[in-house]
Assembly symmetry: C2
Homo-oligomer: 485 residues x 2
């Protein structure tokens, strides 16, 4: 860590200390901050606006695929939480307990929901009777609480915000389709909206959701080479429907337990957006979800009233042309130099900056700077409004290509544990290796390199029977092995 | 209460037992239900869809008036909650306490937020420094918890959902303007979106928010003549900013405490929508927020394949014409008679029903029934799609007129306590009376008639110095005296 004195408002360079860079960016861009409430964050307007855009994009996909939103209780009585054995074992260490309500001690303590499978199963046991009641396709946007000792804004907080989808089906194949469909939505969100590079796959037994038959995830690469689990989709089999005694009369008139899925994506993804794309000047936001997509900085000169008049008129024109199409803001703040304004909006990762000055304007043009690569261009004032959507799309494509390049540059193919060690010698990478998916081999992989885990077994590639990197037996899978947040 | 046996799916008539009617409607229309979690409700997809539409309408007004959404922690440490004396006294009896996190007992217990003034003041004490930081105009959509012994779905639940706006200003006048502006938004929501009849006014000292200088509210009339407080807006003066030591350097370079407001509207308003408009067949939903605005019931006959073909084609045409303009659903469920489908959607309060039958269709028309008054009309199939928005607007106007008529019919002018007693002799009314706003007189009013309260001091009328109904001194105010939920 550097010991030189530095502008207290400056951001720690990424190369110097990635963790400090991250916290600096989150706090100085006013996305979120710590609070006096241990482990809980406050999400500030700029951060919440970003989340609202992510939420709206995903919500549309969730509805498009036939799901409806609803809302379950925040509290779950202890006796309900504990019916599914693996589940309670997984979550018990993280639960916050309400023991007092109003002025009296509760007879049964209430968990603040860490996730909602247990209360949902309890309620649906009364609502599902016949195969005609299936499938049940629901989703909830909610806050959940999992007690954390170390806080990392967005990435690891005691309270966080997410959607949790929950579905019940007649057959395991339908549930399997659902698990994949919703993982596909997460992938679409990550790639098409957030311009991230992700790998889809299945979690190993040791990494799956507590109570699931299996868990699928998308694993995103961060710009320091670490992985971030960015969305998970679980096949719950009949584990909960048996434990909570949910039954229905099937088409063949026999009484059966439905098959169940659940899937969630949280405010963690905001951390992923920051660490995927940000640079030493701050955030670089994906254009499709950026709260401000275009910022306009007017250059006014007190000794040039006529030019100032023209500059102001041009800003109003840009606002009018953007209305309803592009989220554009004119930075009219007084008492700030243009350079300060540029830095302000660069820190906040606004994809495009338009500078309106009287000299350019005299030639009928404005200048435009793209955040992702700093490219500058001059455009006729008369064209810029209608070209903004296409310019934002171009910025998205550039950002996405950069993320894919990052993944490519950090990807390694390894065939043995020795090669795995070698791959991590110069820093964190995404190592792809044939893997047999036996717990013993997973232990060996984790022992081979400090802090790595099997992130997922890729669903887009096969091991093709090549020898497992640990035991050498023919492997069906390609495992992605990486360090992770 | 009737002892006759009755279809278990039927709704208790309003006239027989309003409370049972209400619960029947909420549960059978699948808006919400009880849960095994004492005091907490589950909001089902149809109810949550309704709330999402209400939320989106209000959120647009909140943003239009310059506010930004953000998100504060769910938990508030006890020491922070207790800094403003009146506030803690008001809320302490209702707080749920977390005393254990993960597997250890907490050193300081955490309140599950009953409202967020205390944590917001704590955070903004660090963020407000100069008059340039003002005004702060923020809002949060969140769940809050206030321990309740008796549960009434939507109206009184331990957990409920709301928005809470919080603002800080340089002057008390600015804060006063804000309080009135946001009350105006609530009134606009109630009238223009929910077709309710409401009276705006100021709460008396005994009814104000704990810690406020004063509270304003809108009071809506329910179809049983009771009042429902449907949105509140508080001028908090400097009470919290002093207690939480929020200071800023003013334009005159002196250190000052800002003036503060808060304002909230909750899922309670859904109860208000139900009780304002519903009838013995179920819900009557305001068209602008109804999750399904138009339902189409196809009449298919197995012995008329050609007619059935035409019916199906007409339904597809209606769907296509409605797309993006009107929330229209075709009820294609099999194994249900048309009459069952009519009852199903009447219970759910869908504003317009279109019946598509082959005989009407042969003449190029469909029939349409309006939920609010049962009016039937025949319309050319070729016109109905484009006329739907106007037909929905007409239904809104009718519903709103009916609510205003209800208020008019239940309004009484009274000049003395005797007249007040007389006004309530035949059932609950909204009694308007000159009132001096002294606590002693409020006590007399409450003693005069069982269970009445001063709902508010109307801001749309003046007492004009007429004698207070209790003490006879010249009164500035007209009080609305009513029974309330």
């Amino acid at each position: 860590m550097s010991t030189t004195t530095r502008d207290p408002k400056a951001i720690t360079p990424k190369s110097e200390d990635f963790d400090r860079w991250y916290v600096d960016v989150v706090r100085r861009a006013e996305l979120a901050d710590y609070t006096p409430v241990g482990g809980c964050m406050v999400v500030r307007p700029y951060g919440w606006g970003l989340w609202e855009n992510v939420r709206d994009a995903l919500d549309a996909m969730i509805k498009r695929t036939g799901h409806e939103n609803m809302q379950f209780p925040l509290f779950i009585p202890e006796s309900l939480l504990t019916k599914e054995a693996e589940h309670v074992e997984g979550f018990a260490p993280e639960v916050a307990w309400v023991t007092q309500g109003g002025q009296k001690k509760l007879e049964e303590r209430l968990a603040v929901r860490p996730t909602s499978e247990t209360i949902i199963c309890t309620l649906y046991a009364d609502w599902i009777h016949s195969w005609r009641d299936l499938p049940v396709l629901i989703n909830q946007w909610a806050n959940v609480v999992r007690w954390e000792k170390r806080t990392r804004l967005f990435l690891r907080t005691t309270e966080f915000f997410w959607q949790e989808g929950h579905t019940f089906h007649e057959t395991t194949d339908e549930a399997k389709f659902e698990v994949e469909q919703m993982l596909g939505c997460y992938r679409e969100l990550a790639e098409e909206w957030l311009a991230m590079a992700v790998i889809p796959g299945r979690k190993t037994e040791s990494e799956k959701f507590a109570g699931a038959d299996y868990t699928m995830s998308i694993e995103a690469i961060m710009s320091d080479g670490l992985a971030l689990q960015s969305g998970t989709s679980h096949h719950l089999g009949q584990n909960f429907t048996r434990a909570y005694n949910i039954t229905y009369t099937g088409r063949d008139n026999t009484v059966q337990h439905p098959f169940q899925t659940s899937w969630g994506l949280s405010t963690r993804i905001i951390g992923g957006v920051i660490m995927s794309h940000g640079d030493d000047r701050g955030l670089v936001l994906p254009p499709r979800v950026a709260p401000v997509q275009v910022v306009v900085v007017p250059i006014e000169r007190s000794n040039d009233p006529e030019g100032t008049e023209a500059v102001r008129a041009a800003c109003v024109r840009l606002e009018e042309e953007a209305a309803g199409r592009v989220r554009l803001r004119v930075d009219r703040r007084e008492g700030h130099r243009p350079g300060e304004k540029y830095a302000h909006w660069e820190l906040r990762g606004v994809p495009l900056r338009i500078v309106v000055g009287s000299r350019d304007l005299a030639e009928g043009s404005v200048s435009l700077v793209r955040r992702v690569d700093g490219a500058e261009m001059r455009l006729p004032l008369g064209e810029v409004g209608e070209r903004l959507p296409a310019l934002l799309d171009e910025a998205h494509v550039l950002l996405r290509e950069r993320a894919l390049k990052l993944l490519e540059d950090h990807s390694r193919e390894v065939a043995t544990l020795d090669e795995l060690r070698g791959a991590f010698a110069d820093g964190p990478v995404f190592a792809n290796a044939p893997f047999c998916d036996r717990p013993e081999c997973e232990v060996e992989v984790k022992a081979a390199v400090h802090a790595v885990t099997v992130r997922c077994l890729r669903t887009d590639r096969s091991g093709e029977g090549r020898p497992c990197l640990a035991c050498g037996t023919p492997a069906e899978h390609i495992a992605v092995i990486a360090r992770a947040y």
